[in-house]
Symmetry: C2
Subunit: 250 residues, 2 copies
């Protein structure tokens, strides 16, 4: 194990340690999981609704999102994923994909057989607990999104989404919370928030005009993060990040 390049599954270890630090043997067991690597272009599908996947997919870098399509063709994005996320535990363990997962940017992934996941989860309780914990945090984020989309107005929704994104990026070591790259189009932001792209545009421009943030290309610069969090009715508890991942959040 004296390879210079990081181990392909290293991001998974990092993510699982969000909850609790793992022992050296547990870490080694995770890294020893069987897997196959693959790179995917933007827009390509990892899973399509209706598939019956038998592998779970670890996102090694880049961004991906889950979405559902409704009867009239409308699309709802249910979550955004980044480095270290097990993007498809849900579909593979449940056996039937009730939604699609798609690459947002160019991504590198590792497919891990479902059975290997099950096995390590029960052979190594600490790993199993970390995975369970992870799916519970996913659930917590889903609840917050239900609330965001159901009960907040356009500006709050967007501010909230941007706050969530910034903290998760920071926790994953991918940027500063008040200055980061947002790899999404306004249409995708709209599909996250249940709005239209036109309204997202107007709302973002309004926030820009009010000095809340600046958007150039795909990057976001927040002038006053706490102010944005206040506007977005954002409290970070639901992300269940460790204290030291949050630092000086209110």
């Amino acid at each position: 194990m004296l390879a210079k390049t990081p181990h392909p599954l290293a991001p998974l270890v990092d993510k699982l340690e969000y909850a609790h630090v793992l022992s050296e043997e547990d870490r080694a067991a995770v890294l020893a999981l069987p897997h196959s690597l693959k790179a995917l272009e933007p827009h390509s599908y990892i899973v399509r609704e209706g598939d019956k996947p038998t592998s779970s997919c670890l996102l090694r870098n880049g961004f991906a999102f889950r979405h559902k399509v409704v009867g009239d063709g409308g699309r709802q994005i249910c979550s955004i994923h980044m480095k270290g996320d097990m993007v498809d535990l849900q579909n593979s363990l449940l056996g039937y994909a009730d939604h699609s997962v798609q690459a947002l940017t160019r991504i590198e992934v590792a497919f891990i057989p479902r059975e290997a996941i099950r096995q390590i989860a029960f052979d190594r309780p600490a790993v199993g607990m970390a995975m369970w914990f992870d799916t519970l945090v996913d659930g917590s984020i889903f609840r917050e999104w239900i609330t965001n989309v159901g009960r907040r107005k356009a500006r709050l929704r967007l501010a909230h989404l941007l706050c969530e994104f910034s903290l998760r990026l920071e926790a994953a070591g991918l940027g500063k919370r008040d200055d980061y790259t947002l790899p999404m189009t306004q249409e995708q932001l709209a599909d996250c928030t249940g709005l239209t792209s036109v309204h997202v545009n107007r709302t973002l421009r309004g926030m820009d005009a009010d000095g809340l943030l600046t958007r150039t290309n795909r990057s976001v610069t927040v002038s006053d993060w706490k102010k944005l969090a206040k506007v977005g009715d954002f409290r970070s508890a639901y992300l269940h990040l460790r204290e030291d991942q949050l630092e000086i959040v209110q």
Copy 2:
């Protein structure tokens, strides 16, 4: 074990067997979990946002719901729970309640210490897998709710919610899908769907006028379930029920 009354934890066994049938020993181990029983009046809280619960709560009968409150006082209900649901795995395993859980009707619950849950989950992989599966199904329902609230119009949202409710009731053995008791006020329906109670009222009356359903008191009678499912853009896959729990659904 020759008691005539069913075991207090029997509903949990039934629920866990939604996924896969358990062995006799696994069943016995679940029933042997330490627990304390309690009855709660409508509106009473099982957990409040901000609590740090150390027990999980099994709903033995009656109905409960999770909700979050936003900055302006608005409330969003994130899920409805019924007999057999572990209503608070999420909060207790995560250690911090990011939302509240409240009794909808009069309920009977059993509190099970978090540690006992962890232990059985890893001592008995089949039980652990069933619990994990259950939290994944919860996640799947959350995603559908995000989609419902984010991308469907009022009538579809309500029709969808009523369809979900009817199938879950049927699967739990609590009613027929086209004729059941709905223990919710219109305001609570509004908080599930991100609407206002006034609009819920108008929409339900409209559906009634169009012959889709009849509501008297708290009961719902669906004249043509498949038609309602079509109106509500409802496909049952996301509930991940077994074939034999669904019977003749499209």
